[in-house]
Symmetry: C2
Subunit: 205 residues, 2 copies
């Protein structure tokens, strides 16, 4: 059987829905068999965030240099900062037959949807907009005006759900992780992904 | 939130692939939250099979009466016997918001595909045709000429994989069950299934 290219898994959703928390929980679990692609950003590290683990933290000049060199799979500007995905790591890992997991903003996800239609798109959704606001306030990392801007943006971002393959409600982190792992397992059984390889294997037995 | 209609889950695959074994294992597990729809057949019970548990065993006349009365969701003739799914139980269970699980022959699955395109179709596939023949011989319930006929039929039935949403290889019963449960969990998160309900809930919070 030929080696199959890995699956590109994109987790996104409105700002503040808890993408980072869910992603961290997924990667602390022992059965994760996909690789995390660390994003690049120009925003300042939050308390406890480490360069090369949570993000690659870059200056605006460094980031714009990469954009112009074509070194990013996607990038987006959000609340005054750049976020993006380094291209080389993603391609090398997929070519080696391993799945790559991205956790990105919705603008970036829309770019990947256009470039890689066979990727797997998972939208993490809040139980309600009130829950989203409470979560941002509880995080305590941003002033009220930034939070208000984030909630307004999130409300628009919910409309982008229609570009995604799956919607996972982040009611509890563990529930969301269980669903995401089930989706990835199921997606490897999608008929379009396996049919050709399977029938040729059966005939050539 | 309005009560959502249940999901109709169809497990099928070539004769002898082990559909019954996988289905029994699924329903011995504690977390199964879907209802099994017992099929109806005119074939003789195998050793250990119980009427009303493994199948509803009927005479040819009884079965044909139900066909004419429109009382079957699907039916098929296979190696000289009828197999079918009683319609009333399926509709009542789906209307109550519970998922229904069918384990049926590929002819019947094709009929449901035409009638209920939003059902979930899972194709159980053998690791190889040799493995299938060995499995039928090991079962020891049929003479050599019936087995030869079954393997020839199975080879044709593999072509019907293209009608299905998912393909699950029955290499080991527990692997197959894990994949089927992941597929059902994932399918409940498919964007087309949840988007409308989700957005109206968010707006009406």
């Amino acid at each position: 059987m030929n080696k199959q290219r890995g699956l590109l898994i994109v987790l996104s959703g409105p700002s503040g829905v808890g993408k980072g928390t869910v992603r961290k929980e997924l990667f602390t679990q022992p059965n994760t068999n996909y690789e995390y692609s660390i994003s690049m950003t120009t925003r300042a590290p939050r308390e406890g965030e480490v360069d090369g683990i949570d993000y690659f933290f870059k200056t605006k000049e460094e980031f714009e240099g990469l954009i112009h060199a074509g070194g990013l799979l996607e990038h987006a500007e959000f609340v005054g900062n750049y976020y993006g995905t380094p291209l080389a790591y993603v391609n090398e890992t997929l070519d080696a037959g391993r799945d790559v997991f991205l956790e990105i903003e919705v603008q970036g996800a829309a770019q990947i949807r256009a470039k890689a239609p066979d990727a797997l798109f998972i939208f993490l959704a809040p139980p309600s907009l009130t829950a989203l606001q409470n979560r941002l306030e509880g995080r305590g990392t941003e002033p009220a005006d930034v939070i208000a801007k984030r909630v307004a943006t999130a409300s628009q971002e919910l409309e982008m759900m229609s570009l995604y393959d799956y919607v996972v409600e982040n009611d509890e982190v563990q529930h969301a992780c269980d669903k995401i792992n089930a989706i990835i397992k199921a997606e490897h059984c999608r008929r379009e992904r396996v049919e050709k390889r399977y029938l040729s294997m059966l005939k050539g037995e």
